[in-house]
């Protein structure tokens, strides 16, 4: 088990810089998820930790030891790949033991490790089969098993569940959580799926375009996003953004007028310096933070386009007078019949024109 420290890590491909100075401190035994849209640099960062990509600048330390120039095999890591990367011409057992056999690990120890991994993952029945005779979930288990036999200090997962169907993905997610509890090993996990990030992580690193947007515990990111990107990325359905304009201040704080609805104003307490009146802002409201008319401090008139009934809850897809799309979450019992309704805003976030949170 070990810590993983990234200090101002940079990655360049030729003249293109794809990771612009990443600083991350992964604690011993922690489960950290790198999340972001595709192309944000999260996989590149993981591959740099693994040693599969050169580090163009900065330092990476595992267990306090600088590993910039250490071979992948000597970094104490094990990696699970998106495509599983199982050797198609070997049985499950051979797949698990291949690395150890090739590096001259004593046979008895190899056997012990393979046995343990197969027990942890409950794949004893499959040991003689070839990868193509396995289901997607079983292949995934074998891929994880191959990481376990290395008895690494750090597990690296590169989008391990994205090739599985939705149901299996949920099941394997739980499985990986259980594994983390059982082994207690540091794990770094890359995904583009914010649900995976929210459910698995001790801490989440949100990335975009090679920058780290925010690092924090799942609920902290959810409740207290630093910027519009994180606010929009974390949570499902996404946070709604309604354009507005600062019109002044009152006792509650800054007062925002929503575009196209002069009468609808939101007051927000700010601790920092408030932008001057007239500047444009985005008001972010999560679907579940809309209430019935009169419940919050602001009422907003929206036109409903589509209603989705999921059973316990329903989602109302609606549009404001200004044309901003909003999604409103309601209890199934509380879905109005009208095509135009008034909703209140119970809680909201303000973002400035650069997308930074105003607080």
């Amino acid at each position: 088990m070990a810590t993983v420290t990234l200090n101002n890590v940079i990655k360049r491909f030729g003249v293109f810089e794809v990771v612009h100075g990443a600083n991350i401190d992964v604690k011993d035994g922690e489960f950290v998820v790198f999340v972001g849209p595709s192309g944000c640099g999260k996989s590149t960062l993981l591959r740099m930790i693994a040693g599969l990509e050169d580090i163009s600048g900065g330092e990476i330390a595992i267990g306090g030891k600088l590993v910039n120039d250490v071979e992948p095999a000597d970094r104490g890591i094990a990696m699970v790949f998106q495509s599983y990367a199982l050797y198609p011409h070997m049985s499950v057992e051979q797949n698990l033991s291949f690395g150890l056999r090739m590096t001259g690990n004593p046979k008895a120890d190899t056997d012990r490790r393979v046995k343990r991994a197969s027990e942890i993952l409950r794949i004893n029945e499959l040991m003689k089969r070839r990868p193509r005779q396995l289901s997607g979930g079983q292949r995934q288990r074998v891929a994880i098993g191959r990481a376990i036999v290395r008895e690494p200090q750090v597990f690296l997962f590169d989008e391990p569940l994205s090739n599985l169907d939705a149901e299996l993905r949920v099941q394997m997610r739980v499985e990986i959580s259980r594994l983390h509890k059982e082994l207690g090993t540091t794990m770094i996990y890359v995904t583009h799926d914010q649900t995976e990030a929210m459910t698995l992580a001790d801490r989440i690193v949100v990335m975009r375009a090679g920058h780290i947007e925010q690092i924090g515990r799942p609920l902290d990111l959810y409740d207290n996003p630093d910027n519009q990107f994180v606010a929009g990325f974390v949570g499902s359905p996404k946070m709604n953004f309604i354009s507005g304009r600062i019109v002044g201040h009152d006792v509650h704080g800054v007062v925002v007028e929503l575009a196209g609805q002069e009468k609808t104003r939101i007051a927000q307490p700010l601790t920092g310096a408030a932008p001057e009146a007239g500047s444009k802002v985005m008001v972010g409201v999560r679907p579940e933070h809309f209430g019935s008319a009169g419940e919050g401090d602001t009422d907003l008139v929206v036109r409903i386009d589509v209603v989705e009934h999921l059973g316990g809850t329903s989602f109302l897809y609606a549009r404001t007078a200004n044309g901003d799309d909003v999604v409103i979450q309601r209890d199934a019992a509380n879905v109005p019949d009208a095509s135009e309704i008034t909703v209140s805003v119970r809680k909201s976030y303000l973002f400035d024109e650069k997308g930074l949170r105003l607080r």
């Binding site: 095999a73 094990a78 998106q82 050797y87 011409h89 690395g99 590096t103």
Partner: protein, 278 residues
């Protein structure tokens, strides 16, 4: 619906009516090779039209063996082709692996050279190659002379490069993370996965070596060191020679390859087609 299918039937008949004679014409020389090889010499050079095999193959073969040591030459051809195929598959797949899987300084130059030599006529290197091997290395009439110079093979490298680069990166990265050395990854992961491609390459290389004529003709011209095609070629044009025997030799050179072709047609075609299809 019925007019549509009758149009299809008409097209199908036209297709077969055109293709069948063409196919027969194409098979004709091979068929005649077999027919000639079973006819006595006075039968070959007689006025009648003979289109069916006779029973004279063994006599012809004995005549051939009298004219030249064809069995010995076949032995050399087989040994050379087997050794060449093994070495060439190894060398070209190693080179193809490096080009497919590593970033290194000078890669562009190496690829350009390989592409360039495809269109360079072999004639350009033939004379100095001959001078070097025969005069400087004094290797004329040896197996080494037959095997080593043709080991440079551009299409084979490009084929293996293509094969290896189509394999998923993760597979090799997974082994790398586990600390497996590069040559072991090549040997135990890459090569086993490339088995169908290696088979295709091996067949093509074996055939090339088996049928190679100009270089063996130049470099191994002593009786006792000739390959089978060269030994057979020396008889063509001689006056007192058994043509039935030459045909028996031609059959012995050709029929085994035809059998291999039929058995491994898929690999064969893959190997030939790979030259052009990226």
């Amino acid at each position: 619906m019925s007019s549509l299918s009758s149009a299809r039937l008409g097209r199908s008949i036209a297709l077969h009516l055109f293709l069948t004679p063409l196919a027969l014409i194409w098979l004709f020389p091979l068929w005649m090779m077999v027919v000639f090889s079973t006819m006595p010499d006075n039968g070959i050079f007689s006025p009648g039209i003979e289109l069916l095999p006779h029973g004279n193959f063994m006599d012809n073969f004995n005549n051939l063996q009298r004219d030249t040591d064809f069995v010995g030459a076949i032995g050399i051809s087989v040994s050379v082709a087997v050794t060449y195929t093994f070495l060439s598959v190894l060398l070209t797949s190693m080179a193809g692996w490096a080009l497919a899987r590593y970033r290194f300084v000078g890669k562009g130059v190496v690829v350009a050279i390989i592409l360039g030599t495809i269109t360079l006529p072999y004639a350009v290197v033939l004379i100095p190659q001959f001078i070097m091997v025969a005069r400087d290395f004094k290797l004329a009439n040896t197996w080494v002379a037959l095997i080593v110079p043709p080991l440079f093979n551009s299409l084979g490298v490009l084929f293996m490069r293509q094969s290896f680069s189509m394999m998923p990166d993760d597979l090799f990265d997974a082994a790398r993370v586990e600390g497996v050395k590069e040559w072991r990854i090549f040997l135990f992961v890459a090569l086993p996965l490339a088995r169908p491609m290696l088979a295709a390459l091996a067949i093509i290389l074996f055939l090339a070596s088996w049928n190679n004529y100009l270089w063996p003709l130049l470099i191994n011209s002593q009786p006792g060191s000739m390959t089978a095609p060269v030994a057979l070629g020396t008889l063509i044009g001689l006056t007192k020679v058994s043509w039935g025997g030459i045909m028996a030799g031609a059959v012995m050179l050709t029929v085994p390859m035809l059998v291999v072709f039929v058995l491994l047609q898929r690999h064969f075609i893959a190997g030939i087609a790979a030259g052009a299809i990226k």
